[in-house]
């Protein structure tokens, strides 16, 4: 069993999302950075859909009551087990009574902790992704505990590791398609929008990222229509909103751009004040 000694800033259990219920207004949810999450599951030889722990900016403190094998990917945290540094992006072994801490990341914002067989928390509507009003718990908190799959020592030390593409964290370029309302924007807007430097605002969260830099632009509201993670909305007052994994399923602001799937993962690793710009595919 793993016991949570401290929940960290925003820790939650996530898988690839809750598909099939969007027409009932149920958000997709799921891991913010699917690229890093897949890597963690891969290291553990899990299927890509196993649930992981998503860790945001300041990590939790976890007490392993049994030995386990885990992998941590994503933002460059400096994890320690019983105060001894362990590697990111590789399979690591936690001894019985090991205390895992994360510290703060050097770059990136979110990390993923995978364990063999995934986190077996409650599955609601085909997904374990925690979301307020759908799952009983909306986040991981102090006092929570998670079952570990029986762990077998196979062939001595765990050694698997992967090399991470650093561009996933450092690149400021966010790849986008034109959105449903792109063609309705004035031609001059269309040209400028895809090269303007934008800054991540502090209000950004799992539902949406708010970006600064589009104040001179604006778009009329639309008749409420479908939106999805990665939809870039422009409000009448020039606010730029990039919807993320916990976003609502429909919305009434102009959908000017649509991030590619990998661009959503990339953006989810950006912190407040970091800069990005859009580039049309």
């Amino acid at each position: 069993m793993i016991k949570v000694l401290s929940g960290g800033l925003l820790t939650s259990i996530q898988d690839l999302g809750r598909f099939g219920y969007r027409s009932s207004g149920v958000p997709l949810s799921g891991v913010m950075d699917a690229v890093s999450a897949r890597l963690a599951n891969k290291l553990m030889e899990n299927t890509p859909s196993e649930a992981l722990m998503e860790i945001t900016n300041s990590g939790p403190v976890l007490h392993f009551l049994e030995g386990a094998e885990i992998a941590i990917t994503g933002a460059a945290f400096k994890p320690t087990i019983n105060d001894i540094g362990v590697s990111m992006n590789s399979r690591i072994r936690v001894p019985k009574d090991g205390i895992l801490k994360f510290g703060l990341p050097d770059y990136g914002l979110r990390a993923y902790l995978a364990m063999k067989g995934g986190f077996s928390t409650e599955e609601i509507l085909g997904s374990r992704s925690q979301y307020q009003s759908i799952t009983k718990k909306k986040r991981v908190e102090k006092g929570d505990s998670f079952l570990l799959e029986p762990f077998e020592l196979i062939n001595g030390l765990a050694t698997a590791s992967v090399k991470v593409d650093l561009k996933h964290f450092s690149s400021e370029m966010i790849e986008v398609y034109p959105g449903p309302e792109f063609d309705f924007l004035p031609k001059s807007f269309q040209k400028e929008i895809v090269k303007k430097p934008l800054q991540i605002l502090a209000e950004s969260n799992r539902m949406a990222y708010l970006l600064k830099g589009f104040e001179e632009f604006s778009a009329n509201e639309i008749i409420t229509g479908p939106v999805q993670p990665g939809t870039v909305q422009l409000t009448p007052s020039g606010q730029c909103i990039v919807l993320m994994r916990d976003a609502q399923t429909t919305g009434g602001y102009a959908r000017i751009l649509q991030l590619s799937e990998s661009a959503i993962s990339q953006l989810s690793q950006k912190r407040t004040f970091e800069k990005v710009y859009f580039k049309l595919i």
């Binding site: 598909f19 099939g20 219920y21 969007r22 027409s23 009932s24 207004g25 149920v26 609601i124 509507l125 009003s133 759908i134 398609y177 959105g179 449903p180 008749i223 409420t224 229509g225 479908p226 999805q228 990665g230 939809t231 609502q248 399923t249 429909t250 649509q258 991030l259 590619s260 799937e261």
Partner: protein, 242 residues
Amino acid sequence: MNKFPTYQRFGDSAVLIRWENEISSTINSEVIEMEAYVKDCFSEEIIETVPTYNSLAIYLKYANNVTSFLEKVRSIKEIDSNVKPVTRYIVYIPVCYEQGFAMDLEALATRHELTPSEVVTLHTEASYRVYFNGFLPGFPYLGGLPIKLHTARKKTPRLHIEAGSVAIGGGQTGIYTIPSPGGWNIIGRCPLRFFSSEITPVSMLQAGDEVKFIPITSEAFKKIENEVASNTYIIRKELRYD
């Protein structure tokens, strides 16, 4: 040739079909028919669909080729009448408009120079079309609110609105299906459950259904609330023919 609907890519793995830019039950019916049709014809390629007033998002399985899917839906000339028709209902929803459940009823009535009971009569006489679900799990976008009841949203949204609250926001009326913050004017409360992950379908109302509100007393509210809790309440529904 009619230029609607239009078909376009919506990101890596989705397609958006759009009809005329207006809110009308005729257009919404076309959206819902198209939804049933593409789900029937291309079920292998589709993860899920989301209909709204005048558009339909089709989310495709990941490895799917959006360009070739666009070709396929573009070539749909007319909806094959052999496709199973969409079954829709008139759903009767009990609402208690009494004080305690209707925080904004009096103020709203005063604004329109009506009495609270006139507001209730207007609200319950009309019937409302469910255009689609969105905003919150199970939240129905209802059309058909009498113009006399159109009321601007509150300047300061409430931080907590009880599940089941029946409200008016601008030209729309709706039901808060789960507890939520919100800025609509609360005029009553319904004891039914509009969303549950344990029931199929998860949302009580489906796009294309029609809603009628039935006024009930606070005693009836408590009785129905208990019946809902013990799963003995039967929602009154009639098949819709149109």
